[in-house]
Assembly symmetry: C2
Homo-oligomer: 537 residues x 2
């Protein structure tokens, strides 16, 4: 067979040749704009030539602090197709962490949205390797103390629309870099290779996973700084999928409007996004019938939410699992032929799991006594292996924490049923160890969130003299339930569902649950809060 | 990213772990049998251990002369997953060609169906490297002069059901070998690597190609000796697809019965197979409503046949293009979003084309003056490049005939329309060059086959003093039309469709059109026949 490498240039080449008229709908600071793939690829060539003019070399890291929009998409291809590495930066991290990762990655240039310029101005003096700032904006000029500063559209005006990308790259060349939003210590970086992104994109197109297609109109709500927006911009470009990029400061209302107006068929985001959307569509009418799939990952989706989407609104829900280290798609809950005769209730049980291993990957689940039984009960840590799984943290001596014997140990505790459907039970560190047994915080949370009065619930462990650890639940009620629902209401609700020793020792009502920059519950902060709260009592 | 290689072992591993209860339905000499994937994989392990016991080493070539059945499927995995190379032999080739390819491949063992043993007995004295024959049969013993001879089921009985496959193979290790059914000269061999088969299988699962899925019940009618049955056995094992293997000496009636009984959703074969099936279902009633796709390649499918399947029987038709050198899937005619507003007539125009390039491959179309326009008119030779395209013929100094500058020149003359849909116009060598212009034999054939009286039609060039070449049509009429249809009837039918100089100089009626061993028109033989025929007149 030919030794043609698996490269991102081929994806762009396909969009340019076969789908020049297909659209990228981009919402920016000044409104919604529409581009054809022909225009996007031409602009990408201009950007690549401009970066070349600025002295960007093969292997250089180029950082982005940006929302989901067409310019960010152009950078997704212009940078790696020039042999450089696109470092997408989570601008919701603390300034200290942002400084750390820009310096750790040794970013040479930063592409930054106009509204995020002030964030960089505050830390610019601590950035060691940055040679220039490129402002992505629709405005003609932005006042800034950053220096030297370039304007994205000016660079494109001067760029070469016929610029040729590097074609003789090795497929293992780094293409992307993303840091985990660590809850403790400094963020850890993961390098994505051309090969890894290529294979992951192919996996996104499989009929038995997401089945991304030219016929789709895909809206990645998951940020483009968060594991490549789960690979959707890459797969969309390759397959000629229409893209809707929702831009900065979106609300549930705006998302519902975009889905309705552009007839979005496929969208992707974390559970908190879909909880918000659900609330919006429960309050206001929209036509969301174009949706064939709501892809949900990042943390476990509550079953009650999945049921609402599927049964109340007839919107198919795709529950998935992945992490920064896995590109991210590793598990996906798609129905298979064994489920054809199941009841709706049984199907929902399966939908609430994270699903089956995606073709192309290997997995094992390691419990206390080796690999666990496929009984849906025995708990073990999920380990993954495959061509789009990271092999290390970038220049980081913490690699050994997660990567051992050729496997990535995910830190997620799971069960697997007879059909091979995997369910995340907890993070190894969030699991509650009570009297020598394990209690799943996630199971308790999902049950609480199934109560009609509960908007959000998080369960954490607090130290206990006799039992080692005991669970405490933190609950945010929906508006209007504050007077009718109390601790005992919810305990009553939980009792029939769990063994007595699983029940939380207390239920605390809160205004909100602290979250990470990507919308996951921040359990470490919550534990501190709960500890303080209990001390106060 | 991890450097995990792309290997066939992963496909089998997935079937074994996730789909142990899914079925392989296998028709053999003694009837239809059913196996689970668990049983198939266990039998595959036994076979691999037996081959190991017989002294098979990494890199050894193991030949098969066999129909489509479960034992052939087991060999598909046992051989390459042991590091050896599966050489599938087209037993319909001439004895001289079979001797040539077995010797050229240096096959060490041959796995042979009982009914094909006599074929080998006749040529055994000329086979230079064969160390033994393994007979695949349901019978206890078969009398034979082959020696040494082993019985497949005996080997399996003694084999180790827990045998471990090689896991540390390089992904570029050869896995398969197939010789083209050349119409002139000796057949040419193509080596398939693990990587090539892996990526090709992944491409078969894409929503925008065949979309092979766990939910499918797939029946490869295309022989397993013919380009890996177009990769379906590999993709089926990987995705957990139920397989129906139609076995020896099948008829259109048998195929219709298998589709009906096992609710086949996807089937694959050459146009002559589907012409036969169409005739059968026109004469007898069947319920074929389970079919979601009839994959057709090998040679161009007549539009009239596609229309009959789609419009008369509501069976979706997937027109595709490939060759031994391309693993084979390279083009596939799947509708895309640009066709949503088209009329049925316009959609059929597109379905009759071979379709769009499959994601993962590159192509160019080289005409008289460089790359052709995308106008659906300008003709040029299709050249392909990609990770499942061969880079050479195996140990053959004819490699340069087809492989130049990193491209495979397919020898097929095509046009490409504005949407990127490619239509095969002719083989470079079958194209009729008349008065400095090109006439497509395939266009004339398709028009003739659209006439209700015509069963098959082939058009060939004969030398002409003034015009260099002129077309002659050879037609097989359907039963019952011999008295009502003559040459002038068909000329009358063609006239409104073509320029005057495209019309055949003569139409000859025949009992049958000579075909290659894989069912394609054998134009070289036909040309000789026509030349003789004309001389006789």
């Amino acid at each position: 067979m030919m030794q043609t490498p698996l490269l991102l240039t081929q994806m762009m080449d396909r969009a340019e040749k076969y789908f020049p008229k297909k659209k990228v709908i981009s919402r920016t600071e000044s409104g919604v704009q529409s581009f054809t793939y022909k225009e996007i690829v031409e602009r990408t060539r201009r950007l690549a030539s401009a970066l070349h003019q600025l002295g960007v070399q093969k292997g250089d890291k180029i950082g982005t602090l940006a929302w989901n929009h067409h310019r960010h998409l152009e950078a997704y291809f212009a940078v790696p197709c020039s042999g450089a590495v696109l470092h997408t930066i989570n601008f919701r991290l603390s300034p200290e962490h942002i400084i750390y990762i820009i310096n750790h990655a040794e970013d040479r240039f930063l592409l930054v949205d106009a509204d995020l310029v002030p964030l960089l101005e505050k830390i610019k003096d601590k950035l060691r390797n940055v040679k220039g700032y490129i402002i992505m904006t629709d405005q003609e000029k932005v006042e800034t103390s950053l220096s030297p500063v370039y304007f994205y559209e000016d660079l494109l005006t001067d760029g070469d629309p016929t610029y040729s990308f590097i074609e003789d790259l090795d497929e293992n060349t780094p293409a992307g870099l993303c840091y985990t939003s660590a809850t403790t210590g400094n963020p850890k970086g993961v390098i994505y290779s051309h090969r890894g992104i290529f294979l992951h994109s192919m996996a996104l197109g499989l009929a038995d996973t997401v089945g991304m297609s030219e016929k789709d109109i895909a809206m990645a709500v998951v940020p483009m700084f968060h594991v490549n927006a789960w690979g959707m911009p890459f797969a969309s470009m390759w397959f000629g999928t229409t893209q809707v990029l929702p831009g900065p400061y979106f609300t549930p209302k705006l998302l519902a409007e975009l889905i309705q107006e552009y007839k979005v068929t496929l969208t992707a985001g974390v559970p908190t996004i879909w909880l918000g959307l659900l609330k919006e569509i429960e309050e206001n009418p929209y036509d969301l019938s174009s949706l064939r799939g709501v892809l949900c990952g990042g943390s476990a989706a509550p079953r009650s939410m999945i049921e609402a989407f599927e049964q109340k609104y007839n919107i198919p829900f795709l529950h998935a699992y992945g992490m920064t280290e896995t590109s991210p798609m590793a598990l996906i809950s798609v129905s298979n032929s064994s489920q054809e005769s199941l009841s709706m209730e049984e199907r929902m049980d399966i939908k609430a799991k994270q699903g089956m291993l995606v073709p192309g990957l290997d997995m094992k689940i390691v419990g206390k006594d080796g690999e666990v039984k496929w009984d849906g009960k025995e708990m073990g840590e999920l380990a993954l292996r495959g061509p789009w799984i990271a092999s290390e943290y970038y220049n980081d001596d913490r690699t050994g924490d997660a990567f051992r014997d050729g496997w990535l140990y995910t830190g997620d505790v799971v069960t697997i049923d007879e059909q091979g459907y995997i369910k995340i039970v907890d993070r190894t560190k969030d699991l509650i160890k009570s009297g020598g047994e394990w209690i799943s915080s996630v199971d308790l949370e999902n049950s609480l969130m199934a109560h009609e009065a509960v908007f959000e619930a998080a369960v954490v462990a607090i130290p206990h003299e006799q039992w080692q650890e005991r669970p405490i639940a933190c609950v945010v009620l929906k508006d209007g339930y504050q007077d009718s629902v109390c601790k005992e209401t919810l305990m009553e609700f939980l009792r029939p569902q769990f063994a007595k020793w699983w029940l939380p020792d207390d239920i605390l009502f809160m205004k909100e649950i602290p979250k990470t920059s990507v919308g996951k519950f921040l359990k470490r902060a919550l534990r501190d809060q709960v500890k303080n709260h209990l001390n106060k009592v």
